[in-house]
Amino acid sequence: MRRLLALTITLVAVLGMAVPGAGRAADAARDELVIGITQFPSTLHPNIDSMVAKSYVLGMTQRPFTADDHDWQLACFLCTGLPTFENGLAVREPLPEGVEGHGERDGVALTYTIQPGATWGDGTPVTTADVLFTYEVGKHSQSGISNAELYRRILGIDVIDAKTFVVHADRITFDYNGLGDFRVLPAHLERPIFEQDPATYRNRTLFDTDPTNPGLWFGPYRITEVASGSHIALEPNPTWWGSKPHFKRIVVKVIENTSALEANLLSGAIDMIAGELGLTLDQALAFEQRNGQQFRVHYQPGLLYEHVDVNLDNPILADLRVRKALMLGLDRQAMSEQLFQGHQPVADTKISELDWVYNPDVTRYSEDLEAAGALLDEAGWTDIRDGIRHDAAGEPLQLELMTTAGNRTRELVAQVLQSQWRRLGIDIRIRNEPARVFFGQTLDERRFTGLAMFAWSSMPEHVPRTIMHSEEIPTAANQWAGQNYGGYVNPEVDQLIDKIEIELDRDKRKAMWHRLQEIYAEELPALPLYFRADAHIWPKWLDGIRPTGHMQPSTLWVEQWGAGTG
């Protein structure tokens, strides 16, 4: 036994000496970057499924035709110029007979030209043949494309030459010239697979069966290694037409547990943690306190709108005075300061102040317990027994608050809300559920009885049709389709949503957006809390990363990243 013990100690010591610094040496040549994220992409096919991890990786390997840039303006990435009515590349045209809306509205013809240097990694140019193939896949009902709305709106595509094509769309919306969800596919590789059987194409696509095929990628980098669930390695793509990227290799490593992710960063196994899929804000704040000298922590406010949905079928919450009292009973500024050190700005409506359509002149709710109490009195909740308000019938002012179990921040916020509302005499019962139950059933089928706290992801000037239009209330009759979980109905809001979508004049549109926010703040279909911020953790030597705050990942500008002297 003594021998065994001695042997073990010796073995550990020898191993320790044999592998000094098994992690990556801090002073290694900075031509490799290892990024830690918490999620592995479920597929690398650009148009199947939508998840942040996939956008993050594909940001380095492909380019969308159009996307919002750092200034939140629509810009061309794969195309040479945005078609507009002013430059003549967008032209109104009547809808053909047989198309819904014929005779009632116009469609639009949009001319795009593909970047002349755009070439797949195997040397094949990116051409209009790829555009036509992508359209064919997008249109096919069995192909498994997740967001087919764009393809439904496209009536046809005319090819002018190998690099120029015209898209005929069935309506003119304010974002008529965006082709963000149209991610071009390599026809020379994917067409034979698709044509063999479109229904099983999603299982046989080369993006998942042979992701290191250079012909699949045309961005600054191409994928050279995929270890499912573990990591994806990328190397510069020799056919990339833009400026040459700095790093000779980028590895995206997946470590799902955020504590382990942090430990990996400290051990040097990874260089940075991506804010798009990294530490929660409270973890990042604690990390900064401990290790702020070694790393740069950047907080990027974004569009993730954390709020409390209100079930308006509940007679207590149907009363606007109660909803207003709930808002006046909260000190959201103090909450943001105490829990997030002020990095998550308080929300007035679902529109962030970073968005150009933001209205600063809406009703704002600061903590005012007296006014809140008066509103509750007015609503009939006057009898206070054991600190809880009751109405004339003796019913207690009791509400259920639900959120996702296991999300530490939300659970903490739920407790703060509970204690703040308790001061008004409102009895809040917290009932949290695992995310899959909460999102998959409770919200979807409107099974929450009172309040439900969660976040909406959004985009610049994102029209809230699915969450505010009265046609989007999930019911058994419509098979629980729609995301207006609160059951909010306001004909003026419906009209505004319909009009905003098709108004091209920015000033007019802005006025409508302002009105929409006024109504939101006044009627409170949901209780706004704050906008979430992403915490990016970078080594001091890393330059050039500029997170956007919207849905486009920072990797879309990966060729601008470099190793400085920090």
Partner: protein, 318 residues
């Protein structure tokens, strides 16, 4: 014996079939489906798209029909596709199975090598300082939360000392045996520390019980030395209950490895099953859970065979 084994294997097949139905049913009854999860993260997806995708993935069909379809495929060797990884389930499982087998096998063997002699020693020197020390070690191992121990190991060996890698199966671009072994050290050590305590305690109790038996007293009365009594008579008999526990422990290791695999970003079966359940990946979760069932059945069958070897009075011959 052969007939007994065939009978048990047939029983296992029936249990697996029953379990496949039960698991499929339970997974199907869980709220939400993969498309619902997709919708919660995509502000652009329309109701029409959701309905179309449910039809494409067959999620609009009755549960029994879907099970029948899956079973038909499984019997012909097609276990379906993983939705989380967009790969055939079998293709996805093979490397993970190897990783987990390596992790579990190594930690099980190491725990066995440490726990058996330590348990025997603690029993023989009952109420000595050695016994107290080993018991303390055992209880520490049993009570430590696995995620905390794993984190502690990472912080000590990867962050502070920098001796070992913090996680992964191998370094990117270095798939050598040595590199793989290096990445295995911390997960194996953690899993071993978590399991060795229980094994040690069971061995100790079984040995104490056996050492009190009449035949041990007789052996001592006959003048047999302490080594001969312990190794020749007590150990073999004490092993019968220990083997039962070890067989059950083997199945537990499978779930225990999930936390360790997650903390060390080690691509194994435990983590894969967990991810599949959370991510609504029906096919992957089902096959993974069936495999865990198979493993438990086989380890129990193995234990039965070992009983016969340990105790000649136990016979499976008709």
């Amino acid at each position: 014996m052969l007939r007994y084994l065939s009978h048990r294997l047939l029983e296992a097949a029936v249990v697996l079939l029953g379990m496949s139905f039960l698991i499929y049913l339970l997974l199907g009854l869980m709220p939400g489906d993969p498309i619902d999860l997709m919708a919660s993260g995509d502000p652009n997806i329309t109701s029409a798209d959701l309905a179309r995708l449910k039809a494409v993935y067959g999620l609009d069909r009755p549960l029994l029909e879907r099970y029948g379809h899956w079973l038909h495929g499984a019997l012909t060797g097609d276990f379906g596709y993983s939705r989380l990884y967009a790969l055939p389930v079998t293709e996805l499982m093979a490397p993970r199975l190897g990783n987990t087998a390596l992790l579990m096998g190594a930690s099980f063997a190491l725990a066995l090598v440490l726990a058996l002699p330590a348990g025997v020693l603690a029993a023989v020197r009952q109420r000595s300082w050695l016994d107290y020390g080993l018991n303390l070690f055992a209880f520490a191992g049993i009570s430590l939360p696995s995620f905390w121990l794993a984190l502690l190991m990472i912080l000590l060996f990867a962050v502070t000392l920098g001796w070992l890698p913090a996680g992964g199966v191998h370094a990117v671009g270095d798939d050598s045996l040595g590199n793989r072994a290096l990445h295995l050290v911390l997960p194996v050590l953690t899993l071993t520390l978590l399991t060795v305590g229980g094994m040690l305690r069971f061995t100790r109790s079984a040995m104490i019980e056996t050492l009190r038996a009449d035949y041990i007293r007789t052996a001592r009365a006959k003048g047999l030395g302490p080594r001969g009594v312990v190794l020749g008579h007590a150990l073999r008999n004490a092993m019968i209950p220990v083997v039962t526990i070890l067989a059950l422990n083997f199945g537990t290791l499978f779930s225990g490895s999930m936390v360790v695999e997650t903390m060390f970003a080690y691509q194994g079966m435990g983590k894969m099953i967990y991810d599949a359940i959370i991510g609504n990946d029906f096919n992957l979760a089902l096959v993974g859970l069936l495999f865990a069932t198979l493993l438990t059945l086989l380890s129990n069958l193995g234990a039965d065979v070992v009983y016969a070897w340990l105790d000649p009075r136990i016979s499976y011959v008709d």
